[in-house]
């Protein structure tokens, strides 16, 4: 450990020493360390180097970003923040309130970000009116994936309402197929929950309940219906679902053991990696109901000292939002570009559907942040909601009790 610390310190010293003569500098903290993700970051790294910059990579894997956040805390507290950090949603504003984020408005205005980003996504990148983060991609969360053969064999169409879904699931269950592949982890329960809120309550209700945290919406009859539907869905998962990872649930759909999965579009990566074809082997559609729940990865820019580092920050921000990186990165990662003017000819039909829906829902005002993936709420509030959702899903709690607990948990989370 000591030797490791020494090595780190000496690396930093070397970096600091060389900064006098070098061009743009950037130290980037992120947790994209697995196969496809690491490849995606490498694209950015290469572009950065091609523009004369020197990149210091600081990947911190583990805990879905928890470990990286702990590292970030330590760096910020010691007054030595990285140039850019993979952050998303309200966490950006939370860090801004600590007074440690930089202003990159000059880059954003020169590059015309406001014209190419959907308004609600651009909103996440601003801190009190100034730009402080750069969006990388858009994951859609409210997807339902299906095994095409299983649906065809049972004469089932992709459901467009939750009633249709329930009818299809009953039919599948009678035929001995697991209707819904699900992994019993809190965040997966929350993912399904928010798509049900969107489907049953509609976009306005979603905004009120899961973004504004309006107590009336949280305890409304609509929310009771949402929990009723969650209870129904509980009947459609197999008994072994507890603790299962999401990609194992995807595999169940792939091999025909289960028919549907509700999961963000990272699940598509699993299908594609197994050589399955979208539209033929597996089907993608938005979950029943209108609207679009997005999960946008972004890099927040931290206050740094020195012209070379500031130049690196500006260059990095510019490259991240530039069309080329947006295209290459998202082809690797399975998401779609955050900017709307990138040609999508190389993307598959699911990505094209996602981009089309993003445009139309943005106009209709139903382009909404995902609560389950930390886009809508701060950690303590979204965590409080998830606690109730997962406790309800994994017990015999009544829907009426669940809404009361939901309102109490939210009130107790501030």
């Amino acid at each position: 450990m000591k030797r490791f610390a020494f090595a780190t310190v000496s690396t930093l010293a070397v970096v600091a020493g060389s900064s006098v003569l070098a061009g743009p500098q950037a130290e980037v903290l992120h947790w994209w360390t697995s196969g496809g993700e690491a490849k995606s970051v490498a694209v950015l790294q290469e572009e950065f180097a091609a523009n004369g910059g020197s990149w210091t990579d600081m990947p911190v894997a583990g805990g879905g970003g928890d470990a990286a956040m702990t590292a970030l805390r330590a760096r910020v507290l010691s007054g030595n923040a990285p140039t850019a950090v993979q952050l998303k949603g309200p966490a950006i504003q939370e860090w801004y309130e600590e007074g440690v984020l930089a202003d990159i408005s000059s880059v954003a205005e020169a590059e015309g970000w406001a014209d190419v980003l959907p308004a609600s996504i651009a909103g996440h990148m601003k801190c009190e009116g100034t730009w402080c983060a750069a969006p990388v991609n858009v994951h859609r969360v409210d997807w339902i994936w299906a095994n095409a053969d299983v649906l065809a064999a049972n004469g089932i169409e992709m459901p467009t309402t939750w009633d249709e879904f329930n009818a299809a699931a009953d039919k599948l269950q009678a035929a001995g197929v697991i209707p819904l592949a699900h992994g019993g982890q809190a965040w997966q329960d929350a993912t399904v929950f928010e798509t049900v809120v969107l489907g049953i309550g509609g976009p306005e209700f979603f905004q009120k309940a899961l973004v504004d945290l309006d107590p009336e919406a949280l305890t409304s009859d609509t929310m009771v219906q949402v929990f009723d539907q969650m209870r129904t869905l509980r009947g459609y998962v197999d008994e072994n679902f507890s603790g299962r990872d999401w990609n194992l649930a995807t595999a169940m759909v792939m091999n025909g053991e289960a028919a549907f999965q509700i999961m963000g579009d990272w699940a598509k990566g699993e299908f594609l990696a197994a050589g399955k074809k979208p539209g033929e082997d597996f089907l993608c559609a938005s979950t029943p109901g209108d609207g679009y729940l997005y999960n946008v990865d972004s890099f927040a820019m931290f206050d740094v000292e020195g012209d070379d580092k500031k130049a690196g920050q500006d260059l990095l921000a510019k490259l991240i939002v530039a069309p080329n990186f947006q295209k290459v990165f998202n082809l690797n990662k399975g998401s779609i570009p955050a900017r709307t003017d990138v040609a999508l000819d190389d993307f598959d039909i699911c990505a094209n559907l996602s981009a089309e829906d993003m445009g139309s829902t943005s106009d209709a005002g139903s382009l909404l942040p995902s609560y389950a993936h930390g886009m809508a709420l701060r950690g303590s509030q979204s965590g409080a909601i998830t606690d109730v959702v997962t406790a309800h899903f994994n017990s015999d709690m009544s829907s009426a009790d669940a809404v009361q607990q939901l309102a109490a948990a939210v009130a107790n989370s501030y």
Partner: protein, 290 residues
């Protein structure tokens, strides 16, 4: 000079570690206590706001579950591990053959990390992979053993795995205790024709009271700080049914950016430890003074 050194050498040598303990243990306990009285979220803040974090903590149903789980887990784990350990030790004490080999076998689970234990038991207890599917495969299709995925029983699977891990260690402690009992007394009792079970219950076990206390202290602090076993075996699930105070604290501090809440839960955990350790230290110190 050399005389001064001679007189003060022990103090000089001990000073660095004393200072380190003072800062890194007691200093940070004080720091945590301070932070638990603030509204710290993402980063620690130092403005005292009263007992709001403790009020939030005791209003949280998840914390209730965590504390109840600690009682269930702690009580069952300590009692069963001690009874089982004592039983194994007594059986091993019957001057049997290959005692050394058997002792090693029972002690071996202690060599595994809790993560390995948790993962192995996760597979053993998984209804689709482990015992349930095996017994059903033998033809008993009605057999059910779904404790791992049943929110009401999942905490008992953690008890099982923890006992499997630790009872061998308790056995070793007790075995050492049994061997330290004066052989003359036992022989005298045997000459008087007292049955073996009476020798154990009336002579040997009462004379091992200090061993019981040590075993209890070791197991109690294992129970209170357990974290890795829960993470590996159930991940706190189903839902948050198997949360323990340590996993609650971790979630608050590192996943949710709620440092004040995490600090208050850490303080409560420490008070629980104090409630057990202080009487122990008190009795130890008093015994020495007598």
């Amino acid at each position: 000079m050399s005389e001064w050194l001679e007189n003060h050498l022990p103090k000089v040598v001990l000073a660095p570690s004393f200072i380190a303990v003072l800062i890194f243990v007691y200093g940070f306990i004080g720091w945590t206590a301070w932070v638990s009285l603030t509204r710290s979220k993402l980063l620690p803040k130092y403005e005292i706001k009263g007992f709001i974090q403790y009020e939030r903590l005791f209003d949280s149903p998840r914390w209730d579950t965590a504390i109840n789980n600690l009682y269930i887990f702690g009580a069952l784990f300590i009692v069963i591990a001690m009874v089982l350990g004592l039983l194994l030790a007594i059986l091993l004490d019957q001057k049997i053959r290959v005692e050394g080999a058997i002792r090693t076998i029972y002690l071996y689970p202690m060599a595994l990390s809790m993560i390995v234990t948790g993962t192995a038991w996760k597979w053993i207890l998984n209804p689709g992979l482990g015992i349930e599917s095996m017994v059903q495969g033998w033809g008993f299709t009605n057999f059910e053993f779904d404790w791992l995925v049943n929110p009401d029983y999942a905490i008992y699977t953690i008890v099982m795995a923890a006992i499997w891990q630790s009872s061998g260690f308790v056995m070793a402690l007790f075995l050492a205790g049994l061997r330290s009992v004066d052989g003359e007394i036992i022989k005298a009792a045997q000459v008087d024709g007292i049955p073996t079970w009476r020798i154990y219950t009336a002579i040997i076990i009462p004379s091992m009271a200090p061993i019981f206390l040590s075993a209890f202290i070791v197991l109690a602090h294992l129970a209170i700080k357990s974290f890795d076993l829960v993470i590996a075996l159930t991940g706190g699930g189903p839902g948050y049914a198997t949360d323990l105070p340590a996993t609650y604290m971790y979630a608050m501090a590192f996943s949710r950016g709620d440092i004040g809440q995490a600090a208050s839960s850490a303080m409560i955990m420490m008070l629980v430890v104090f409630a057990i350790v202080v009487p122990y230290l008190y009795s130890e110190l008093r015994a020495k003074n007598d």
